[in-house]
């Protein structure tokens, strides 16, 4: 049940085709000699079923885009956008003053802010989640506050950050922090509350020390829930940074989008949208891989 949390719909959609392939691919095989175990043949059909649908999707998107912009002058066509992207990525790390830096720098600065805000949120949120899960009193004390603060839009926190830190960069990090902390707190707390009573009874019968209970029972049992929280948090953090940077300025992908809007460079805005999407996807995939590594079968 626990590992099901990490299944992406994409994986699930691919599964049936994948499962069907050995039976379908079998007749095409040359007969292997009975002494040797048959070598697994290259599974072209399975590979095609995996790769073709996403490629079709992408082609469809670009096709519709090309069709819609055929006679437009304001909106760039896919070809124009691609040319702009090639130019842009030819030199991603140039520096011409504080407000004109390569897209590579912009992405790195954004990632740095996300890492800082998210890292601080993990540092505070995960232990807080453990405590809320372990102590009922604390749970009842903090739960209403979390329910109240969780749905607040990230940008509502920005002015508070600006007021307290009197500077744009820490305010952006603060916004990331406050928005990405909730999923980690809530998921960790739920994980602790759902540790099977049997495991805790084992701990009681063995009379384990608090340290052993923490390291051998609670932490491994909660880890899958915690990683789900971390994954949601990173997604939120990456969503928020673009909006926050549009308001705070400085070097960053969000500010870059706003800057290009002021320059009326729409091609660059579209490129930025793709870049933001791809970076978000990579962050998510990275954490899914980590989660899969640490999830266990019961």
């Amino acid at each position: 049940m626990v590992s099901a949390v990490f299944h992406s719909p994409l994986e699930a959609a691919v599964e049936p085709g994948h499962a069907a392939k050995p039976a379908l691919a079998a007749p095409a095989l040359p007969q292997p000699s009975p002494a040797k175990p048959p070598r697994q043949p290259m599974d072209w059909r399975g590979l095609a079923l995996k790769l073709l649908p996403p490629i079709f999707g992408l082609v469809l998107l670009v096709g519709l885009w090309a069709l819609a912009t055929m006679n437009s002058t304001a909106f760039p066509t896919p070809a124009k956008t691609f040319d702009a992207a090639v130019k842009l990525f030819a030199d991603p790390f140039y520096r011409k003053g504080p407000n004109d830096q390569g897209i590579g720098w912009n992405i790195l600065f954004s990632l740095q802010r996300v890492a800082l805000g998210f890292g601080l949120a993990a540092l505070v949120g995960i232990p807080l989640g453990f405590m809320i899960g372990r102590f009922e009193f604390l749970n009842r004390m903090v739960s209403p506050l979390i329910s109240l603060l969780k749905p607040v839009s990230p940008l509502a926190w920005l002015p508070i950050g600006l007021l307290v830190f009197k500077s744009a960069n820490p305010a952006a990090i603060w916004t990331i922090f406050i928005c990405s902390i909730w999923p980690m707190v809530v998921n960790t707390a739920v994980g602790v509350q759902r540790v099977p009573a049997d495991y805790l009874n084992v701990a009681r019968v063995l009379n384990l020390s608090e340290w052993k209970i923490m390291t051998r029972i609670l932490f491994p049992a909660v880890l899958p829930y915690m990683l789900t929280g971390v994954r949601l948090s990173v997604g939120t953090a990456w969503l928020v940074i673009v909006a926050a940077e549009m308001l705070t300025g400085g070097v960053g992908i969000g500010f870059w989008v706003w800057d290009e809007w002021n320059n009326l460079n729409v091609a660059h805005i579209i490129i930025a949208i793709f870049v933001i999407g791809i970076v978000g996807l990579l962050l998510e995939q990275l954490l899914m891989a980590v989660a899969a590594r640490f999830s266990f079968d019961d």
């Binding site: 049997d198 495991y199 009874n201 084992v202 009681r204 019968v205 063995l206 009379n207 384990l208 052993k212 051998r216 029972i217 491994p220 049992a221 266990f296 079968d297 019961d298």
Partner: protein
């Protein structure tokens, strides 16, 4: 040492959201050292509750429980529990699951090699030496239960408490593990209290069978002494007059005198 475990006038009332539930009343029971006692009764009669009281996992509402003349007021490694659903930690290997218990009990007095040897010996005792470094999900249900038993035995407990340890297994595996348990208990001379709902299991394994009346407010209805010679052989016993008599007595208690579960509840 005739009263190794003593239960005196134990009573258990659970306070739940739906109100008070009177589970057990007037429980008086003594278990001698080296004795094998089973608790049998219909489901919901509170046999697991009684076992949990002896384990110290729950404390009685009234009455006293003693183990080796000391009051039972918390769980402890001297009263090892084999849980119904094995309760192995899925992120630890079979070896590590047992080692966790060994380390806790003997960690202060023995070195690492001795602890590892104890762990391996316990797993060898239940015939699991081949799967030391497998995780619980990689072995069968019967094997998991063996590891659970190994974990309990490795602590060298004064009492082995078993809560329907073979309930979730198929009949053949269950019979096999019962035979293994008989051998292990004969070798280690353990004191065992086991909860079961299987009449044959109770007669085959026990020195005494404690039969509980139906709940709520269940109590001990009858205690049957099983005077069958050990070692016991299930095939030979099938036609043994003493065995058939004991089996009949338990069935009679469960189905003739306390058979109307719904009515009683």
């Amino acid at each position: 040492m005739n009263n190794f475990i003593e239960v005196q006038q134990a009573e258990m009332v659970f306070t739940t959201k739906k109100g008070r539930f009177h589970a057990l009343r007037d429980i008086n029971l003594t278990v001698a050292k080296g004795e094998f006692v089973t608790l049998i009764g219909h489901s919901g009669c509170g046999k697991s509750t009684l076992l949990n009281l002896i384990a110290g996992l729950t404390l009685p509402t009234a009455g006293v429980l003693l183990c080796d003349s000391k009051e039972i007021n918390a769980p402890g490694p001297e009263r090892a529990v084999v849980f119904q659903n094995h309760s192995l930690l899925p992120w630890l290997t079979c070896f590590d699951n047992v080692h966790l218990a060994v380390e806790r009990v003997f960690g202060a007095t023995e070195n690492k090699a001795q602890l590892a040897a104890r762990t391996e010996a316990a797993l060898a005792l239940v015939g699991m030496s081949h799967a030391l470094h497998k995780r619980p999900h990689e072995v069968s249900g019967g094997m998991k239960q063996r590891v659970g038993i190994a974990r309990a035995l490795a602590m060298e407990p004064k009492v082995l408490l078993m809560d329907e340890p073979f309930g979730a297994l198929d009949a053949l595996t269950r019979a096999h593990l019962q035979d293994e348990l008989l051998k292990i208990v004969a070798r280690t001379r353990s004191t065992v209290v086991m909860v079961t709902h299987d009449v044959d299991e109770a007669v085959l394994l026990s020195d005494r069978i404690v039969m509980l009346s139906n709940g709520p407010a269940a109590t001990i209805g009858e205690i049957l002494r099983v005077d069958l010679a050990r070692p016991r052989n299930r095939v030979a016993l099938a036609e043994d007059a003493g065995y058939i008599h004991c089996r009949k007595a338990v069935l009679d208690f469960l189905y003739t005198r306390h058979g109307h579960v719904e009515q009683a509840a």
